[in-house]
Amino acid sequence: MMEILEGSHAVAEAVRLCRPQVVSAYPITPQTHIVEALASMVADCRLDAEYICVESEFSALSSCLGASAAGSRVYSATTSQGLALMFEVCFNVAGMRQPIVMTIANRALGAPLNIWNDQQDSISLRDAGWMQCYAEDNQEATDLHFITYRVAEDHNVLLPAMVCFDGYTLTHTYEPVDLPTQEEIDAFLPPFKPYNTLDAKKPMSLGMYATPDYYMEFRYEIDEAMKRAKQAFAHAGREFAGQFGRDYSGLVEGYRLEDADTAFVAMGSLCGTVKDAIDEMRADGMKVGLLKIRTFRPFPSAEIRKALSGVSRVAVLDKNVSLGQKGAVALEVKDAVYGSGIDVFDYIIALGGRDVRKSDIRTIAGLAEKGIGDQYYGLRMEVL
């Protein structure tokens, strides 16, 4: 049913439809509306789950780990500092192969303290062993929860997943969202079947330690599972498209890339603005297009190389920066197209909620054409 909902509430409804049995989260701006909505659903018996009102994000994810290991489908949500506080648990959840789904309402990391959007928080956790997908709008943010639960719980994958959507830009924006019915989601997402679980009838030790004789092999196994997640994503996306008509089977998605000279690469809500800018530039005869990366982990290198094969240059819009280097997305895109002769220019953009307009995208296209890149875009030189 099509409804006009705040992004956070749309995500909360999606989570409800996934029937998590344990929800554990800690409030933090701009994620709070999601967990408030879930808490009130539990209070109103609209969601049959245990809601653990924890004392920190660290305990939120720790208790999710315990609940998942004991055999429940679990959910959490956080952002920014909260995600940073979970850092240690994030690695642990992935290493213990618990298929937890967690929403990230992307927000900048301090200092300086800033509650607005960029993607530094989740990007900083890129090596933790979590799948990461980025939503362009609230429909996608909603749908990706159904898909990631399926992929995460697939016994060929068994990895946790972050569904990332931009703080405020999406979390606090009301827009139409088509919400599936419970019957439809029950048909798409089967009940959780744990792999190794805590059960007195069948005792197992989970989370043992591994000596140098075993550790590397375990990390290799996680890496392989992450690679298998690519097919699982594509497969679940195709089935979802068959059932609901919205297609997320591509780990990347091209927009007007045919015959494009300059391709933008972006993740998340910025893609919408870029698409509008591209339409205007195309009307002016400029050959520009967009490659949207939906899953940053697993990273779709081959898909990116293929999608960008015809372009002369790539302008990556990074809402993050690996300080002392470049933006993380640009570095990985460079790796993906290495040897192709395509120029990859990086633009650090929109940190801490700095607004991006269509005219900015046009300016960046111009810079890329002149070969000017690998820089911050939109710095206020007057305050430096």
Binding site: M96, N196, S205, L206, G207, F218, E221
Partner: protein, 86 residues
Amino acid sequence: MALNVGCAAAPGRARDNRTGSWRVFKPTFRHETCTKCGLCETVCPEGCVKEREDGYFDPDYDYCKGCGLCAEECPADDIEMAQEEK
């Protein structure tokens, strides 16, 4: 899969590690003054002291580390520690 997903394992394999090889001093349960009180079984950190059918106790030398706690605690002074001959 050869490796168990998530570094998990079923019980039983700890016994693969025969800690008896650590032993320097070996306890001998003499069964002379023994009152079959079972304290040796209770206090063994290895859990390797077992009751026999006749009610006396014996250590499992595959696992006994030779700490001597049983000998020290034995109220009947019936357990003797002596350097292991290897």
